[in-house]
Amino acid sequence: MGNIKLLDFLTIAIRRLWILIVALIVCASGAFCVCEYVLTPVYSSKSAIIVNNGAVTTEEMLNSDKNAIANTDIAASLNLAETITDILKTPNIFRKLVVELDNEYTYNQLKGAVSVSRRSAQSLFVDVRVNHTNPHEAMRIANTFVKLASEYIPEFIPNSIAVVAEEAVSASLVSPRTAAITMLSGFLGFVVAFVIVYIIDIRNDFVTSDEDFVSKYNIPLLGTVPDFEDIVKAKKKKRGFSHVKY
């Protein structure tokens, strides 16, 4: 293949620009149609609980100046939050959730839909996210889970407090990300089309024009002879000469 020059890429891209644009439009349109009409949308709803170790009431924790709370208590609560996050991932809580939801969902379905995580390493908030194709169901499950957790945690860890801090009041669309997928598909279509065009161009390697010939070879071009049929077609295209017979 020899040295590949950037100019060669640009030349090929410009020469075959219409193919690349068509590929971009086709791929982007196809991805858009798939996202809008084929894929099932998935919504996510979030709720949260706040935990502490019981040394300070929740009201004090939320309303008091933090200087009034001992650092050791905060540290203990942070460790507790970490532990509670792990507890909320255990099978027991999900079995209880199945019962609480009147067996509308299986254990595996809820295990796959619900995710529990700490908001941050320095936070006492534990977030619960639920993904569902129905936004209302996502909210219902998220609220049910945190309510269940607020009751389950004190039973599991005595003297601990878990309070529902945020209820799920809305659900946002998380899948499919139509805009991103459409743009990415268009871009990939453009790139793939370019690669194919480039490979075909390299393989064909024909003389493409008189300028192309002269630029490549150090011999004089004595003349160029147009194609007979192309002349006839070109003549017919021009206005006023369609009646001329050659």
Partner: protein
């Protein structure tokens, strides 16, 4: 076909196999002008030489070298200069087909010593003669490299101002290189969007290795609407309109008046 006298052998016409050349009315003005341009450029190459003998070849088959040789020869003959087309492609001759003449005797017979030149020279148009390839011999390259071929060219050079020799593709057989030893040089014919660059490079390297002289190249099948600087010189649309007007007065349109010199 011209009705001018034929002092040499009869030229039997096979009309159904003949193809258009720039002597015919039907050929577009742009094509005829292209060959005139080629003629002018070749003439510039040989400003001082007496007889110009050209080897016409191409990298591979199908680029139109025989058609190019014929039309370029017609263009030269229209200057009033005696011109000869010599079909040296004895393996797959096509010149006789394109001109619609028979190929019972020709170059191979001359080189084998079976016939004289005057007995197989076909007079096709005014100032234009053709020696076809003849029957395919078992040893074309040897015949073309023989002393007899050199003597033949010397003999023909006394009578003709321009001799265009159609040869086989240089990438396939080396006949063109053998012929070029006794000619002014090689004209390479290529075709737009048909000839591969690899084939051209191979042809040029083969010619260079044989220490032959490349006079230049001719590109066939160019896009008439191409906006390259080489095509802009023509302005095909503009000049063809003038040609259409002038032809009504009998001016300048090749084929409209066979006796008109260009």
């Amino acid at each position: 076909m011209s009705n001018t006298k034929k002092p040499q052998a009869e030229a039997n016409v096979i009309e159904k196999e003949a193809t258009l050349n720039i002597h015919e009315k039907k050929v577009p003005f742009a094509v005829a002008e292209a060959y005139k341009n080629i003629r002018a450029n070749i003439m510039f190459l040989f400003a001082s030489s007496e007889t110009k003998i050209l080897t016409i070849t191409s990298p591979v088959a199908g680029e139109g070298k025989s058609t190019t040789a014929i039309n370029a020869a017609v263009a030269f003959s229209q200057l009033g200069e005696k011109t000869l087309i010599l079909d040296a492609d004895m393996r797959k001759p096509t010149v006789h087909k394109k001109l619609g003449i028979k190929n019972e005797v020709g170059l191979s017979n001359i080189l084998a010593g079976f016939i004289e030149v005057k007995d197989c020279t076909n007079h096709v148009y005014e100032n234009l003669d053709v020696i076809t390839a003849g029957r395919t011999p078992p040893n074309p390259a040897e015949l073309l490299g023989s002393e007899r071929f050199k003597e033949l060219l010397d003999e023909l050079a006394k009578e003709y101002k321009y001799i265009l020799i159609d040869t086989p593709p240089v990438n396939i057989v080396l006949d063109a290189l053998v012929v070029s030893k006794n000619t002014s040089g090689i004209v390479l014919v290529v075709r737009d969007k048909f000839t591969q660059n690899e084939a051209i490079r191979y042809a040029l390297s083969t010619i260079e290795f044989a220490d032959a002289n490349v006079l230049g190249a001719i590109m066939n099948g160019a896009n008439p609407e191409s906006k390259t600087k080489y095509n802009k010189r023509y302005g095909y649309g503009r000049y063809s309109r003038y040609s259409y007007r002038y032809s009504r007065y009998g001016y300048g349109f090749i084929g409209n008046n066979k006796d008109t010199k260009q």
